[in-house]
């Protein structure tokens, strides 16, 4: 039996399992979850409103432009390269180290 035949054989044995009330049973047994606390939503809303009221987007943009004008020419390529590198290193480290982020015990 070669590789292709083995794949074919396992494919033949692959059966769809009908639900037959399984999902309802699981849903019935789910414990209640604690929703995100109301305080979090309140502070998130206040923060967003404040950001809009004080023209946060405009201020942030102005500040970045000002910084870029004053900073030496090489700042942008160096900073952006550093940020991308940090992100990539962090991402690959996370992928390699934790595989699937999960704590079961």
């Amino acid at each position: 039996m070669n590789d292709r035949q083995l794949k074919q054989l396992l494919k033949q044995h692959k059966q769809e399992i009908r639900d037959n009330g399984f999902s309802s049973k699981v849903m019935h047994h789910l414990p209640d979850r604690q929703p995100v606390p109301v305080l979090v939503w309140i502070f998130a809303t206040i923060g967003t409103l404040l950001f809009i009221v004080i023209s946060g987007i405009q201020r942030t943009t102005d500040m970045i432009i000002l910084m870029m004008e004053k900073a030496p020419w090489w700042t942008l390529p160096v900073v952006s390269t550093a940020m991308v590198s940090i992100f990539l290193v962090g991402f690959f480290f996370h992928e390699r180290k934790t595989s699937v982020s999960l704590i079961l015990k």
């Binding site: 396992l10 044995h13 979850r33």
Partner: protein
């Protein structure tokens, strides 16, 4: 339902505490998860349903730790894999578990086992890592990378499990 949909339902549950949003995820993944357990338990439907239920409940409780870097199915299979081996360890207490004993323990007769008797008999002769790797890659269609994440082993090791399992299965099923 795509991965983006999975993420949407996960966010509904985690951010808004909407329990009902978990229902589409259970319906979508009940078949692969139950089939995975069915094959691991050599066709024990009752046990595989119990383990599947435990898997979904654990997934629900741990949903906040799902970061979306791996697909939801990979994450769910990882839980299923842990649930299965935890249940074996729990039954055997603190003694060292021989997985050959586990194979004998779970070898039961029922409708599914009658239908797939040859396959189960062959799967039972594989090492547990080989069996899990074969089931994940060939039966459930996970990539080698995804399966290595589920089994928490290096990619090269996973490939060696698959290769050894395939060779043994091919000989056994001839």
């Amino acid at each position: 339902m795509s991965n983006a949909d999975d993420l949407k339902w996960v966010m509904q549950v985690t951010l808004f505490g909407n329990k009902n949003a978990f229902d589409p995820l259970v319906r979508k993944y009940q078949s692969p998860i139950r089939r995975f357990f069915l094959n691991l338990t050599m066709g024990d439907t009752s046990l595989s349903d119990d383990l599947s239920q435990e898997t979904f409940i654990k997934a629900y409780l741990q949903l906040s730790s799902f970061q979306g870097l791996s697909g939801f199915s990979t994450w769910l299979f990882r839980i299923a894999y842990n649930v299965f081996y935890d249940s074996i360890r729990a039954q055997k207490g603190k003694e060292e578990v021989s997985l050959d004993e586990v194979d004998r323990h779970y070898h039961t007769e029922n409708d599914y086992s009658a239908e797939n008797a040859d396959l189960y008999a062959a799967l039972a002769k594989l090492r547990h890592e080989e069996r899990t790797a074969i089931l994940l890659c060939y039966m459930e269609g996970l990539s080698h990378t995804q399966a290595s994440k589920v089994m928490e082993c290096p990619l090269g090791t996973l490939k060696s499990y698959v290769s050894a399992g395939k060779t043994k299965l091919a000989n056994l099923l001839q």
